[in-house]
Symmetry: C2
Subunit: 168 residues, 2 copies
Amino acid sequence: MELAEAKKKFIETWGKLGSEWGINRTMAQVHALLLISPEALTTEEIMETLSISRGNANMTLRDLIGWGLIEKQHKAGERKEYFYADKDTWNIARQVAKERRKRELDPMLKALDELSKVEGDVNDPDYKTFNKSVTDINKLAKNVDKTLDTMLKAEENWFWGSLFKIFK
Amino acid sequence: MELAEAKKKFIETWGKLGSEWGINRTMAQVHALLLISPEALTTEEIMETLSISRGNANMTLRDLIGWGLIEKQHKAGERKEYFYADKDTWNIARQVAKERRKRELDPMLKALDELSKVEGDVNDPDYKTFNKSVTDINKLAKNVDKTLDTMLKAEENWFWGSLFKIFK
DNA sequence: TTAAACTTTCAATATATTTTGAAAGTTTAA
DNA sequence: TTAAACTTTCAAAATATATTGAAAGTTTAA
């Protein structure tokens, strides 16, 4: 496979993965493009390479900055803004986990906590089933939250090292 | 909060979570409804409770069966099909992880393996950056795959016990 | 100042996904 | 058989999400 072809395929693959995980395709593709670019790119270059509009490029770049996945770079004597991606996969994974926790897990934990407080007749099968499911899911969600918390604070080697020890 | 209100809220919350994770809202809501139902329900009851059409209910139920999250039940002397959900959160988590691995991670690993084989000039910064990113992501994906594999084979207590030991 | 270079906004448009519902298909009891 | 009870299908409609592009906004150098 040619490098040019491989690049296209990578951008496409990363885009598909993103859309399967709730990150929009274009956002994932811009991220992929920056991941394989040795140099920071301008909005213009990104628009051109991916055939997307200026508005789309601008919004997507802002989103990616919001996710902590890319950063702006200013070149001396230039007006234009350049963008580059953090290339460290561990950081990428952490950043994504961190954002999704904040955006999704936290609100869910809040809702579940409230729902597990609902009182009812312990002889009512409806109530019993409701309560058990909510409580169990709440426990699971809390475990996930705790694990993520520790993971986010951890160093890469320490994390993977420990993980391999258990999952040998 | 009233039980009836709490049930509604739970179905809504689970639905929202699902849609954030690439599972469609209705599918997550039907799953939620069955999770809090002590008895298996008919298509009719599900349609009514969630105000969805027959076609939608039928397709969603088939999808949920495909994901291994619910099962059909036949009651003696009845023509109708009843549906019930596995209530064990550990099984649910495992089932979802298993399906997503099969549907998403496996194809991605295949694509990444191919892309990491692409050869090029080691003095070309383009090639070097491409190669490093692809290789790194491939490693990460393989680690995730390995971890999931072990997790899927593991027993609940063993898994959470070990996880807590590291992430104390 | 001002005007060129650049960035941001957002209503309109396009695309993708989900849902409907009526018709077709299947199963079963009599 | 047959007809009632039930399930499945799928084209059309509705809804949700993403994208465009031109206009408005901002910054900077002269």
